[in-house]
């Protein structure tokens, strides 16, 4: 097993990086260059938001960083593990041991209870969750009395919080969240974002969040802007207003709504 870097909340070590990544979908005339020399480093212990108009390559970049997708050229590293050198099985195990995921919807296995869904990455690896850590997570996510319920019996907000719990249970090096608040109303969305920020600030986790919502992005420590498959801009300590202003400057359709 590769070495697991200790969560470094104080130093600005690099948790993951993409170096000159190119990814093309389709062939010939229909070819789309989703990533065209994307270059980004994700700082450890911080919440990084990735923004960009539709088709800018946000999701592709996150998928490449998470080892869910292969790339045509360039390098992707999680810590100091070169993803491109790993086999499919090794990438699966890496996801299980070192990465966490929160998706926009359909985050949970319908037939498992909330507690079982949270423990899933560990049980898939044949391990048991650390009881104290599980209790702490449940406490923080406010899921105390919902643990035995199945996803269908949970509200959308509760479902997403279970998903966050699942993403954090294995104490991953890095958590990827793809539009985690996309299906939530603003109140539940704010609670979830607050929790993600707390996870980085107080627990020292590293989170990468894809979003198109300036308010969501404002919870991040840093926002990275993507256009045409390249990093075109970035912003530290964002507010909804500064994010909106940068978005408007981007050389892309202004109506960048919807994923």
């Amino acid at each position: 097993m590769t070495t697991v870097a200790p969560p470094a909340s104080t130093s600005l070590a690099v948790a993951a990086q993409a170096r000159d990544v190119v990814k093309t979908y389709g062939q010939g005339e229909a070819a789309v260059r989703a990533l065209d020399g994307a270059d980004v480093a994700i700082d450890s212990g911080r919440l990084t938001a990735i923004m960009g108009p539709s088709g800018s390559g946000k999701s592709t970049l996150v998928h490449a960083l998470a080892g869910l997708d292969t790339i045509d050229s360039g390098r992707v590293l999680i810590g100091d593990t070169e993803l491109t050198a790993l086999s499919e099985r090794e990438r699966t195990l890496l996801r299980r041991e070192r990465l966490g995921f929160v998706f926009q919807a359909f985050n949970l296995i319908p037939s498992l209870t909330a507690a079982e869904n949270i423990a899933l990455p560990l049980t898939l690896a044949g391990k048991r969750p650390d009881r104290a850590w599980l209790a702490e997570l449940v406490e923080m996510l406010g899921l105390g009395n919902r643990l035995d319920h199945r996803p269908a019996e949970l509200s959308g907000g509760q479902q997403q919080r279970v998903a966050v719990g699942r993403a954090l249970i294995a104490r991953p090096d890095l958590v990827f969240a793809d539009e985690p608040t996309g299906n939530l109303d603003s109140r539940h969305g704010a609670a979830l974002l607050g929790f993600l920020r707390d996870a980085t600030r107080t627990l020292g986790h590293t989170i990468v969040m894809v979003t198109h919502d300036p308010v969501a992005a404002s919870y991040a420590d840093r926002v990275v802007f993507l256009a045409d498959g390249r990093i075109v801009d970035e912003l530290s300590a964002p507010t909804p207003e500064t994010v909106l202003a940068r978005m408007a400057r981007l050389d892309a359709p202004a109506s960048a709504i919807g994923a």
């Binding site: 996801r95 296995i109 037939s111 898939l124």
Partner: protein, 842 residues
């Protein structure tokens, strides 16, 4: 709507392929059965017609009935002068005396055993026969014979070789010619042995008698007129039939045995179609629920529920008809396979080109289309109820819960079925058992969605040992009650039938073993030819009786009689010698009284018919028609079972009423102090020139009977195997479809770290779980029904219920492994899903 249906079917062709295959397989079975039996009938007709070509009328002795249970009755021999009398009748052109009958052929000490009969006949030249010499010359004199060219070729016999021909008498004859019929080199499944009249009479021990007189009408004489003239001239004693009628009667007798085969095959084909129906219903259910948003969109766009319903049924019809067409084509090929299988298990089916009638095509097409339509009815009704608003809903539609009415109906049917089975078994009412089985089956179908998930949950517990994949496999099996139920039910049905048949088979073997216990004979001689009435020359018994190693012998013969309109069997024994070779227990009267005529009945029959010693029983016997037979005794059931029938006559009475002169079995008690092995060798030597005489000890006789049972059951089990294959296709199909449905779930699992191997094992575990559910349900139902059937068939004493544990374990093992195999393809497909696409699927 029809265009939409076609487009839908084409668009979902990969999802519907296995459904199509299920329809095609079921229909192939139906078509194959019909083609095979039609072909056999036609070939038999053609054979007997060609063999009788040229003869206008045939004169034989009159008989009360021509054939019974597929065996032609042997008629009285005709006096030699009858041929002259016939020839002298005005209108007759030519007349010829014929002697023919069953016999055996031996080449270089090896018996020739065709699947069908060996016919000893009288050689004739055209116009009396269609047989033509291929090579050599006609037989002339007491030591010459002509064989059919096909038999000669199969056994490497050339002109100039010597063969042994035995009927009642055995003779060594020189082959002087080879013959054929029309284009064929012989009759299929038969050996034809032609000698001259004198030799035939000698072989059949007819003296100067003949078996029939063939007549050709004089030119310009109408055959129908001649027939009535001749009948009038000869009197009541003789029957005049047209040559073609006689051929037809022979063909009918031969075809009667095939009609049983047709019933068995079609019943099995129906089972296959029923299993297929479950699969079809399931596929349509899944595909439609996956399409429910699309259907809702249609509804929102203005399609009425009726139109949706019609479009689904149209799609089903399309699949049904094309599947049935494919199945019919495959069925023609399957007929060859079926024929091979049936022939291997000892059924005499003629070889020849296949007959495909328009009726076969029609029946197969209608069966396929109808089954598909009926199976799609439920899913189509559910589809028509999809509300237009579903189109706007993002979430998956809620799964339908089993409705209350259905639950109540199910439990009521199940309870009625079990009660009916119990009561019918207790009352020994076999028809009631069948009714109970149907009720039970309907109850189980209705309750499947409730019972199957519970069963899956219970038997799936060990899967948790596999970790999350096993756990998830169990969950998803339980999560789709209707789907799990239909998939498992199809397989369970096949397995229930197989375990039913194997328990019945085991018990039948136990019964036949038990029957032998009444016999005290050291050895018995039987015909290896499996003729229904036996086929031993009386010479065998005569020779054995003279051996110094033998203490006592007793022969038995079988015959058929008409009981009202029904054909029944009887056994003829020698009352003087039978007690020396068997423990005969009489409950009334005396066996010895049989010598004076009359009949002894088995106890259960005497009770059933309310007959006592001294009463009369009307029996129609072949030679003299209806007789009033006096009951002289009643025999214990076990003793009667050892003699294979409940109606016992003496051999003397038998000889008065039957012309058959063959023993079914010869029971032999060895003389004191003779070693069994030595006795056996002596017997074998003494009867060595009767190729069909088989010397068996009790153990071997039991084994031989068991082997016959095994062969018949083997064929049935093998054919039931096809139904199981269809059911396994169902598992594959259902899983493959549910993977399409669970794409996102699978993507999520893969994203959070489920390896491909874990994913594969999850899908395979699901398949195995469904198979295990089916095995548990199927075997339990099969065993229960078999027990009820056996008890229902019992008289006073319970029939033994033998559960062939080893055999059942093998069935269980194979079914579970097959379930695993059924999961391989879907598992591979699931593992190949690209994680990204799976996640992205909305």
């Amino acid at each position: 709507m029809w265009r939409l249906a076609v487009k839908n079917a084409v668009a979902h062709r990969s999802r519907l392929t296995l459904t199509w295959l299920a329809v095609a397989l079921g229909v192939a079975f139906v078509a194959g059965s019909l083609v095979l039996t039609d072909t056999s009938s036609r070939l038999l007709d053609a054979q007997f017609r060609t063999a009788a070509a040229g003869v206008d009328l045939t004169v034989r002795a009159a008989a009360a009935f021509g054939s019974a249970m597929g065996v032609e009755v042997e008629r009285d021999p005709l006096p030699a002068h009858l041929a002259e009398r016939v020839a002298g009748t005005p209108g007759v052109g030519q007349a010829r005396a014929v002697a023919s009958g069953p016999g055996q052929l031996q080449v270089r000490g090896e018996p020739v055993r065709p699947n069908g009969p060996t016919i000893v006949g009288t050689w004739a030249e055209a116009p009396f026969t269609a047989y033509e010499l291929r090579t050599g010359r006609a037989p002339d004199g007491g030591d010459e014979v002509v064989l059919d060219a096909a038999t000669a070729a199969a056994h490497d016999i050339a002109i100039g070789d010597t063969v042994t021909v035995s009927a009642t008498v055995s003779r060594r004859l020189e082959v002087v010619g080879l013959t054929g019929v029309g284009e064929d080199d012989g009759l299929s499944d038969s050996a034809v042995v032609m000698v001259d009249l004198g030799t035939a009479q000698a072989l059949l021990d007819l003296g100067t008698g003949v078996t029939s007189v063939d007549v050709i009408a004089a030119p310009d004489v109408a055959v129908a007129e001649l027939r009535s003239d001749l009948a009038q001239a000869l009197g009541q004693e003789y029957a005049v039939t047209s040559g073609q009628d006689a051929a037809e009667a022979s063909a009918e007798a031969a075809k009667e045995s095939i009609s049983y085969l047709r019933v068995v095959l079609l019943a099995l084909a129906a089972a296959g179609l029923l299993v297929g129906a479950f699969l079809i219903a399931n596929t349509f259910g899944i595909v439609l629920s996956q399409r429910s948003r699309e259907l809702a969109l249609l509804r929102a766009a203005g399609a009425t529920g009726r139109q949706v319903f019609a479009s689904v049924l149209a799609e089903a019809l399309l699949i049904g008809i094309t599947g049935a067409a494919g199945g019919t084509a495959a069925g023609v090929g399957a007929a060859y396979g079926l024929r091979g299988l049936a022939q291997r298990t000892g059924l005499a089916l003629p070889d020849g080109p296949l007959t495909v009638t328009s009726r076969t095509v029609l029946v197969a097409l209608v069966a396929g289309a109808l089954v598909t339509l009926l199976a799609a009815l439920g899913p189509a009704r559910r589809a028509a109820r999809v509300a237009p608003v579903e189109a706007m809903r993002l979430a998956e539609p809620a799964r339908p819960r089993p409705r209350r009415r259905r639950l109540i109906t199910g439990w009521v049917l199940l309870a009625l079925g079990v009660a009916q089975l119990g009561a019918a078994a207790y009352l020994r009412d076999i028809a009631g058992v069948a009714l109970g089985a149907v009720l039970l089956f309907l109850g189980l179908v209705a309750l499947g969605p409730v019972l199957a998930p519970r069963l899956a949950n219970a038997v799936g517990r060990p899967l948790d040992g596999l970790g999350v994949p096993g756990r998830l496999a169990r969950e998803s099996t339980v999560r789709n009650p209707r789907r799990t139920a239909a998939t498992a039910m199809a397989l369970a049905l096949g397995l229930a039938l197989i375990s039913f048949v194997s328990v019945l088979g085991g018990s039948v073997k136990a019964i036949s073993a038990g029957q032998q216990e009444a016999l005290t004979a050291d050895l018995l001689i039987q015909s290896a030819g499996d003729e229904m009435l036996g086929g031993l020359s009386p010479e065998v018994a005569a020779r054995v009786a003279e051996l110094p190693e033998v203490g006592a012998t007793s022969s038995i013969r079988y015959g058929h009689w008409l009981d009202g309109g029904m054909t029944s069997a009887l056994t003829a024994v020698d009352p003087a010698t039978l007690p020396q070779v068997a423990d005969v227990e009489m409950t009334a009267g005396d066996l010895g009284d049989l010598e004076e005529g009359g009949a002894v009945l088995a106890e259960d029959i005497a009770i059933e018919r309310g007959l006592r010693v001294g009463d009369q029983l009307a029996m129609t016997l072949p030679r003299h028609g209806e007789q009033q037979v006096r009951i002289v005794g009643v025999m214990a059931d076990e003793s009667a079972q050892a003699l294979s029938s409940g109606y016992i006559l003496s051999l003397t009475t038998y000889a008065q009423h039957f012309n058959e002169d063959v023993d079914a079995s010869v029971f032999v008690a060895l003389a004191d102090g003779v070693d069994a092995e030595a006795g056996r060798t002596a017997l074998e030597t003494a009867v060595s020139d009767f190729p069909n005489a088989e010397v068996l000890d009790q153990t071997h006789a039991v084994a031989a009977r068991a082997a016959t049972v095994d062969q018949a059951l083997g064929l049935i089990t093998l054919l039931l195997g096809f139904a199981v294959v269809i059911a396994l296709l169902g598992i594959t199909n259902t899983l493959a479809l549910s993977i399409v449905e669970r794409t996102r779930e699978i993507g999520l699992l893969r994203a959070v770290g489920m390896t491909r191997r874990q994913l594969r094992s999850m899908i395979r575990a699901e398949a195995v779980l469904v198979a295990v559910v089916a095995v548990v349900a199927g075997v339990a139902v099969g065993l229960g029904l078999a027990a009820a059937t056996l008890v229902g068939l019992s008289k006073d004493e319970l029939l033994p219920i033998r559960i062939p544990v080893g055999q059942l374990l093998a069935v269980v093992g194979i079914a579970v492994l097959a379930g695993l195999a059924a999961g391989l393809l879907p598992a591979r497909r699931a593992a190949r899903l690209d994680v990204l696409t799976a996640i992205a699927t909305r």
